[in-house]
């Protein structure tokens, strides 16, 4: 099982194409959805709940950019109005995940060695569970809802991030500047506060960005399985779940919400990797 530790963690892969326009595009995408979450009425072209049975299941057109659903509701406006809830679930899950990861990761790196060993072993056991499986176990206990999605995805993806946190803290502890501070006779608490924690936490900005994108994907996977927010909502996962019924007749109902999630997740990944690359080059 220890071999897993040698694995480069998914988020730490280097060799990204250093093309500036991808990052610019990603920032644009995120800004667009941030605006949609803050003020959906500015971007929506129709009332997201207005029924129009004469225009049901229309393919994307100039009037209905993303087409319409079975009740004639404009899909583009529904996607825009669902942004707030989808982002909230993604951010919430990433927050839960990161807090847990900080607690477990710093315990595994800083606690007394027996406790640290035990915590580390515990994290490794949790890491053995596939994220979605873990999330499904929690949904089985708590029943499907937005809160469950946040908790299930947050807890499910925490072990991976806990390993990253532990690695960061250990790397900071072994660094030259900490050695120098120890040699200068600085007290342990001061070294932790001034050197180890800031240097270990800074890379987590990148991790958090990657985590938000991943969380939205996991949460929408749960929703796709019918275990998310109930369909009247226009949360993106709920749109996917509702669109499944019409996959042969009106594929845009599932393809477009899926594409929106993919685009946002890729944008988050691109930004996260860019931050990571900047931090790493800054360290050198």
């Amino acid at each position: 099982m220890t071999t897993i530790q040698d694995t480069p963690a998914p988020t730490r892969t280097r060799r990204l194409p250093r093309v500036r326009w991808t990052v610019a595009l990603a920032v644009g995408v995120v800004a667009f959805f941030a605006l949609a979450a803050a003020a959906p009425q500015l971007l929506a072209t129709h009332d997201p709940t207005a029924l129009d049975l004469t225009a049901s299941l229309r393919a994307p057109s100039l009037d209905h950019w993303f087409g319409t659903d079975e009740s004639g509701r404009d899909l583009y406006s529904r996607v825009i109005h669902g942004t707030r809830e989808s982002l909230a679930i993604g951010l919430g899950a990433a927050g839960v995940s990161l807090v847990l990861a900080l607690v477990l990761g710093s315990a595994a790196a800083l606690a007394h060695r027996y406790l640290a060993g035990a915590v580390n072993r515990f994290v490794e056991i949790l890491f053995a569970f596939p994220t979605l499986l873990f999330a499904l176990l929690l949904v089985a206990i708590l029943g499907p809802s937005a809160t469950t999605q946040i908790l299930a995805v947050g807890i499910g993806s925490a072990p991976g991030y806990a390993r990253i946190v532990r690695g960061q803290i250990l790397a900071a502890r072994r660094s030259g500047y900490v050695e120098a501070a120890v040699a200068l006779g600085h007290p342990r608490g001061l070294i932790l506060r001034q050197h180890v924690i800031p240097n270990a936490v800074r890379p987590l900005v990148a991790v958090f960005t990657l985590c938000v994108g991943q969380s939205i994907v996991w949460a929408s996977s749960l929703a796709f399985l019918g275990l998310g927010v109930a369909p009247p909502s226009s949360e993106w996962g709920a749109l996917l779940d509702a669109g499944r019924t019409y996959v042969t007749h009106a594929p845009w109902l599932i393809v477009i919400p899926g594409l929106v999630i993919v685009v946002l997740a890729l944008a988050a990944t691109a930004i996260g990797k860019d931050i990571q690359a900047r931090l790493e080059s800054g360290d050198e």
């Binding site: 099982m1 220890t2 071999t3 897993i4 040698d6 694995t7 480069p8 998914p10 892969t13 280097r14 060799r15 990204l16 194409p17 093309v19 072993r121 515990f122 490794e124 056991i125 949790l126 053995a128 569970f129 596939p130 994220t131 979605l132 499986l133 499904l136 176990l137 949904v139 089985a140 206990i141 029943g143 994108g213 994907v217 929408s220 996977s221 796709f224 399985l225 019918g226 275990l227 996917l240 996959v247 042969t248 594929p251 599932i254 393809v255 899926g258 594409l259 999630i261 993919v262 997740a265 890729l266 990944t269 691109a270 990797k273």
Partner: protein, 340 residues
């Protein structure tokens, strides 16, 4: 170990004795390391079993009532007579620690408990379906390897544009959600072009699209790790010396570089088994394939926890076995690990 081995072969035939002695101690060391890994694997399994047991306790409400409600599919008050039967059947009146030990003892004998809803052993429910899921995940991992090796060999260490394209494709495919990729593949190749059946079925023909859905993101993911190692290996002295001997570029890449570059991906494959099983849940839903993924979703919906936790334990076991195999594969690919 080595001293005793040397006394066994004190003959002047130095070279074979050293080789033989090295071999035996190497085998011993390998066996010991595998044993340590197996113990680690048992700890993981024990953790999975404990989590599974805790999950059954964590269902809100009185357990006997919950079990009856899950069976009936509706929540209502139960009479003491009804409850007594269930308490008797599941031993709910015993102390928790005794229930836990009974559960662990059952697991050790291969008994995963009884389904709340289906009135039969969980193992029967899973056993019928698990073959289809393993066929799917196995095919997916093999396909992912083929895609990844071809793609990395073709694009790594080439002109900057080709390299950028190569790693961009990996980043994008690694991030694709299974549900979306599966729908796109189904729309294009099954509904649009009609090359494949829309509903998966169990045949080889129906297996390809579901397996590709799992394989493409996995290939992208493994490709990211392999590409970095591949490009490092390309600059190594042994590559230059192979080129100086007049070896062609493709032969160098396949015979020398690849062997060094695939190690991270081998490690990832053990981990990938878990990840593809996760994805299998989604893929089986899209392509209406039989498998434990569908059983799992149904059980989660019905809160049939013994089935859910049974699947968790079985997948954890598969994960442990896969990682042991990965360790063995590692030493086969990299002879340096046998001596170190």
């Amino acid at each position: 170990m080595t001293p005793t081995l040397q006394t066994e072969s004190p003959t002047p035939a130095v070279a074979p004795a050293v080789a033989g002695g090295g071999g035996t101690s190497r085998a011993l060391r390998a066996a010991r390391s595998i044993a340590a890994k197996a113990v680690g694997g048992l700890v993981v399994l024990w953790g999975a079993a404990t989590a599974a047991f805790a999950a059954q306790l964590a269902l809100p409400g009185d357990r006997a009532t919950v079990i009856l409600n899950v069976r009936a599919g509706q929540a209502m008050k139960r009479t003491p007579e009804e409850l007594a039967g269930v308490i008797e059947q599941y031993g709910l009146d015993h102390p928790v620690i005794l229930q836990y030990l009974t559960f662990l003892g059952g697991l050790a004998r291969g008994d995963l408990g009884n389904s709340y809803q289906q009135y039969r052993p969980v193992w029967d429910v899973i056993g019928e379906q698990i073959g289809a899921t393993f066929a799917l995940t196995f095919t997916a991992i093999v396909l992912a390897w083929v895609l990844m090796v071809v793609w990395v060999t073709l694009t790594a260490g080439r002109r900057p544009q080709v390299r950028a394209l190569g790693s961009l494709a990996e980043t994008v495919t690694a991030g694709l959600p299974h549900y979306w990729l599966g729908i796109i593949l189904m729309l294009v190749f099954a509904l649009g072009l009609g090359w494949f059946p829309v509903i998966g079925g169990t045949g080889l023909h129906g297996l390809l699209l579901p397996a590709l859905t799992l394989a493409i993101p996995l290939a992208g993911f493994m490709g990211q790790a392999t590409r970095a190692a591949f490009e490092t290996a390309l600059t190594q002295p042994f590559v230059i010396s192979a080129r100086m001997r007049g070896m062609g570029d493709l032969a160098v890449r396949l015979r020398h570089v690849l062997r060094h570059a695939v190690l991270p991906a081998v490690t990832l494959s053990g981990w990938a088994l878990g990840a593809t099983v996760s994805g299998a849940v989604v893929v089986e839903t899209i392509f209406t394939r039989p498998g434990i993924g569908k059983v799992l979703v149904t059980a989660v919906n019905a809160q049939d926890l013994p089935v859910v936790t049974g699947i968790v334990v079985v997948i954890a076991a598969a994960y442990v076995v896969a990682n042991l195999l990965v360790d063995v594969a590692y030493t086969l690919i990299d002879p340096r690990l046998r001596t170190s």
